[in-house]
Symmetry: C2
Subunit: 157 residues, 2 copies
DNA sequence: CAGTGGTCGTTCAAATTCGAACGACAGTAC
DNA sequence: GTACTGTCGTTCGAATTTGAACGACCACTG
């Protein structure tokens, strides 16, 4: 384990360029996606991601904590967003039958049809700016890289 | 130009996996970086990025709008953060000599030494979770991919 | 010089985020 | 059963972000 106080290993030009490109691009893409979702459905990106995760889950329902892990947000942020989505009728809360502490977020029919309506336009943005611009080899390498980092970050918490 | 309403080109499994890995990883990494910077220096990531951009700029100063472009934030968010950094003594404002509307954000000596103090620990995180885990080929492919997307997003606005 | 359209940075209200603290419940040990 | 330790989801206050609206200024036109 290196000690950054005594061994400041700077990034070389190539590494720094990679990091900055990643950083700028993730922010720019986030901005663009947010804009598209807001215009198309009045949804924020976190809200959309919640709907997606629920739609993929067995029974279209997930425990709050598990959902928070999936969408990478704090528990309190999820509580807030589920409340918003509940007001909009896209999600409802159920108490967990096997654990009285637990709460299940459940995708409603309205939520499902909202997702069906919004997903194509959203995915078109993802295609237009990211997926369709990458060669098959770039796509493969990026996925591999992202997975390594994701695994490292998830297992370190 | 395809119409998402009539031609919903879904992402195949490989593409979807790539997109989700990118999304989760960028959020997880953002979280980890935020945590490290907060603990090490009481800085947020946006604040740190502002210091970096100013340190790299000629004369260690940049126009507000140009700086906002660089760090990918709204103008109002930048106004807020520059005010915070000014209170901390890391940045000061100057009026632009060539344009009375303009404001220059200038990195102070304290700001420069703060950056020197904080950068190694920050870059160590970037290394530990991203850079050092990637092969040279993955790094190259990721940079190429990110640049394509970044350029597309910057030129479309 | 007055007029016009655009850019600059700031202000404002509203929405969202986070971490810390909390009460409620689960699981285990004794 | 009682006590202890940990997890669950929520609440709270503080900090931050956003887009819209604003006044100030620039550059150009006539």
């Amino acid at each position: 384990m290196t000690d950054p106080r005594t061994d400041p290993r700077w990034l070389d030009a190539t590494e720094m360029a990679a990091w900055r490109a990643f950083l700028s691009t993730s922010h720019l893409l986030e901005r663009r996606i947010e804009e598209q979702l807001k215009a198309a459905a009045g949804l924020t990106h976190p809200q959309y991601e919640i709907l997606v995760r629920l739609a993929d889950a067995p029974g279209r329902r997930l425990r709050m904590t598990e959902l928070a892990r999936g969408v990478v947000s704090s528990k309190s942020a999820l509580t807030y967003q589920i409340t918003q989505l509940e007001k909009a009728g896209l999600v409802r809360r159920e108490t967990c039958p096997s654990d009285d502490r637990g709460v299940l977020a459940v995708l409603t029919e309205a939520g499902m049809s909202c997702l069906d309506r919004v997903a194509p336009g959203h995915l078109e943005v993802v295609r237009e700016y990211l997926i369709d611009r990458l060669s098959r080899e770039e796509l493969r390498a990026m996925t591999s890289a992202m997975r390594k980092t994701e695994e490292a970050l998830r297992s370190s918490v």
